[in-house]
Structure formats: C-alpha cells, structure tokens
Symmetry: C2
DNA sequence: AACCCCGGTTGATCTAAGTCAAGGAAAACC
DNA sequence: GGTTTTCCTTGACTTAGATCAACCGGGGTT
C-alpha cells in the first residue's frame, strides 16, 4: 500500500498545512503555529531546487509536482537516488550541506519552513516527530530495496521493476484495481530512467522495445504504457515482494 | 566524521543503556524506565537474527559485534543493503514483517526492547525520538550514497570505495590520523564484499590483487590491509566526498 | 514550407565483468 | 599427522551491457 493511500485515510481537510504529510495526526494548536513560519516556493520543471553541497536554508515538503534527488561524479556519471512526491520532505534540521542535487522534474510547489522554528515545533510536538521518523524509515526501506535492483538485477529486470513500481503507485487510483490491466504515463524520459536504473539510455530503449515485443507492455507513443498483466510484469521484475521506491 | 566519534563526545558513562546510541542526549528519568523493559540477546557469528518477512517482536540495538542486512532473490542472488554497527537500531515500532534478513557477521550482543513500551517511551521522550530520527536520516544518506556506488562505479572503484569507507571508519582510532597510512583488518570475506558491492567474488579477488599490484594497498595474508596513501585510495574510489555507509 | 531540435530507436562493435574450472593455503577436525 | 573444509586466487572463455554512430519523427520556430 502506498503512502498516498495511508495519508488519504487519515487526512483532515482543515489542516493549515494544506498537503497531507503531517496532517494524518494533526492537532490544531501546533499546526496553527506552523502557519506562522511557513512560506511557499514555486519551481519550474528542470530547475534545480538545491545544489549538492549547498547550505540548506529550509526544510521543505512537496505540495505538488515531482522532484528528483541525484548524485553526480566529477566525470558526469549520475545516479538518481530518490524521488520526492507530494508530501515528502527534503532538507534536514541540523545539517548544512545537501548530499545531493534536488531538481524539479515537473513544476513543483514546495512548502518551506525555516529550520529553527521547525525544530522547536518538532520538540514540542512528539507525534509529528514520530510521523517524520515513520516516513524516513519508509524511505530507508525503499532505498534498500532499490539497492537490490541496482546491484543484482539485469537490465530487463530493472526496467520491469521500475515500471511495476510506477504502475503500483498509480494502482490505487485505477478503476481496475491492482490486479487488472494498468495504464499510465511515464513521468520520466529514457535518460532519467537510465539514471535511475544505473543503465545507459540506449539499453533502456532496447529493453523497452523488447518488453513491448514480448507483450509484457504495450506502448502508445513513447510515454503512454499499458500493462495487460501486472503479474507477468512482476515476474519479469524478478521479485514478488512489494516495491516501494515510489511509495 | 563517524557516528562513533559523535557519540563518544557526548556519551555518559552511567547511562542504563550501556552502549552509546541514545545516551548522548540522555536524562536519567526516562532511561531508568527503559531499564525495566529491556533485555539482552546473544547471537553467534553466522546466526540469522531476523529472517526476511519475520514478525519483528522487538526493537534492538547492537551493543557489540557486527550484523548485516541482506536481501535475497528467489534464485539466490543476494545484495547486502547495510551493516549494523554497535549503537545502530534494527526493527521498527509499528511494522510487522522485516523487509530483509539480519545476520550476525561476528558474535553479536543485542539490547532488545519490547515494542509497546519502547513506543510509549518514545512518545514521552522527544529528544530520544529526535535522536532516532537523526540516526535514520544518516542511514538514509548513507544508503543513497551507496546507490551511486552500485549503479555507476566500476569494479575497481567499488572496491576502493569499500576499502576507503572501512579505513575511514577506523581512522578515528588510528594514531596517524586520517591522512597518514592506515592499517586494518577486513571484517568481511570476499564473498561478503561481493554481496555488498554487487559483484562476484572472483571479480573482488581480481581487483584486490590489481590494487595490490599497483601499490594502492598492501596485503598481509587475506584480511590485513595497509593503505599507504589514503588520498590515492580515495582517488581510485572516484569521489572525494565523504563516504558514510559505515558511519 | 523548410528548418531544427529533442527525445527516442536501432545497428555494429567493444569491453568489463560474469561464468566455469582448476588449483592453493590455512585453519579445523579427526 | 593427515584429511577435510573453508576461503581465496588465477586462468580461459563468454556475454550483457556500454559505446559509437546513424537515423527517425513530432512539435516548435521562423
């Protein structure tokens, strides 16, 4: 089950933080104080939100859009290390330099909190701190799951893993439920997929073609994907357990 | 700087949790209560502490020894996704199934807490919850750094990365400081190194031999490593930034 | 229309790492 | 002391994926 769903369940519509990150456990008093210390920032697709090594002046939470976390070597090799979806946090109280670039993949609206008051609020509000810990543990599990993908899976399995994760993320929104055919738009270019999977874009392209030829997926144009049989796709991914990078 | 050092700085010797995880910020009252709910367990080298999918009956913190977290595919391919060093936590309050195997690499002593009281203690004790969040964020950063290693580095760079991380972890203990020559024992077999790096054990062996031939490292037997020039090793690792998987 | 640019595909070739296989050294057991 | 087992090394060969390079097609712009 994705975090999206978990949040939806407990979200309260009158929370002053308008997105759903902390909301599930909110109480009016603390969040009224948050209201005073927060502000919004907008970023265009492609814009870098935080450069690796930059001083992180704020703690931010994505309200809408997608941002990606990437690490880059001097010679230009880059590896995407995570995605920020709405409600995810970035920046940590008490650390100065960011360990990676944060870039807007689509247009992004971010809700920002100045560090000091945010920390004070956390100290005052145990259940919000607890919720943040839960979210961070989820991200850690997802990152570790991704390490298996990067370290041990073949190119075809990597592609299938990525597609099945994206498909499952959207599954909760689908009318057919998770077991029926899935239809979705890839939110990533072939190059971004390659950076995510530790492959080259040519290999990504070839494996997408191969999966299409074998009937595992259907492609309409370059981005629109149909998965006729999720079970088949998950077999191709080489694991039956739950994904979660995107959750 | 490693977590070890951070903790040493603030550790208080009379803390009822005898290792240093939570201690840095401890106050007597809360930890006296922890005393009532904790118990110790011993594991022999090679013994599996938690199987993937197992119900996790406790939250544990390593007191001494090293344990490894691994994920395995049905066909036997395995990927190590993290190490537990003294003071690290495993198991999370509020989740049942472990997403990976936890295995004792050396003999391990673990300090365990029953979940329910541990959660209650967290709710009562914001600064301990905060410390746990900090530790988890550190692990997340380390995992993401490792994703770059797994996804984009060559075999030689992977080996050099691993060696430099181990070397730096021990650097604080070294009389020469971090820039002088380093001497340490590898805590891992070639196979474990391979599982960590997403390589085969033959490739690990070959690259170790190559690094030795090129004078980057000296080997005494199979396990004892000397690094005459840490700068050289870090160049070989392909990054000048801070590692941290072991920190 | 003609142009270009961007993202994507596909082919030909190369190479880093995997696979298979044969030992060697050192500890561990009888 | 000899035998077995575990861990490691090295060699010969194969292969998955990278690299280099040509080309395609749609959506802008002029």
């Amino acid at each position: 089950m994705s975090v999206q769903t978990q949040f939806s369940a407990g979200a309260c519509s009158d929370c002053p933080i308008r997105h759903r990150a902390v909301c599930a456990h909110c109480e009016r008093d603390e969040l009224a104080q948050l209201e005073e210390i927060k502000y919004y920032r907008n970023f265009e697709a492609g814009q870098t939100i935080i450069w690796s090594g930059d001083k992180m002046g704020f703690v931010g939470s994505v309200v809408s859009g997608i941002a990606s976390l990437t690490q880059t070597m001097e010679d230009g090799r880059t590896q995407m290390v995570g995605l920020l979806l709405p409600s995810d946090f970035v920046g940590r109280p008490g650390r100065v330099g960011s360990p990676y670039d944060v870039t807007a993949t689509t247009d992004v609206v971010m809700c920002c909190f100045r560090k000091k008051p945010f920390e004070e609020m956390m100290a005052r509000t145990p259940h919000i701190a607890h919720r943040l810990l839960e979210m961070t543990l989820d991200e850690l599990d997802a990152a570790r799951e991704w390490m298996l993908v990067l370290g041990r899976k073949t190119a075809r399995e990597k592609i299938a893993s990525l597609l099945s994760i994206i498909a499952r993320r959207d599954a909760s929104l689908s009318p057919n439920g998770p077991s029926g055919p899935m239809l979705f738009d890839l939110p990533l270019t072939r190059e971004a997929m390659a950076d995510y999977l530790g492959l080259t874009l040519e290999t990504v392209s070839r494996q997408m073609s191969a999966l299409k030829k074998d009937g595992v997926i259907l492609l309409e144009g370059k981005r629109r994907v149909t998965v006729p049989d999720m079970g088949r796709l998950m077999d191709e991914a080489g694991d039956d357990s739950d994904g979660g990078m995107f959750s």
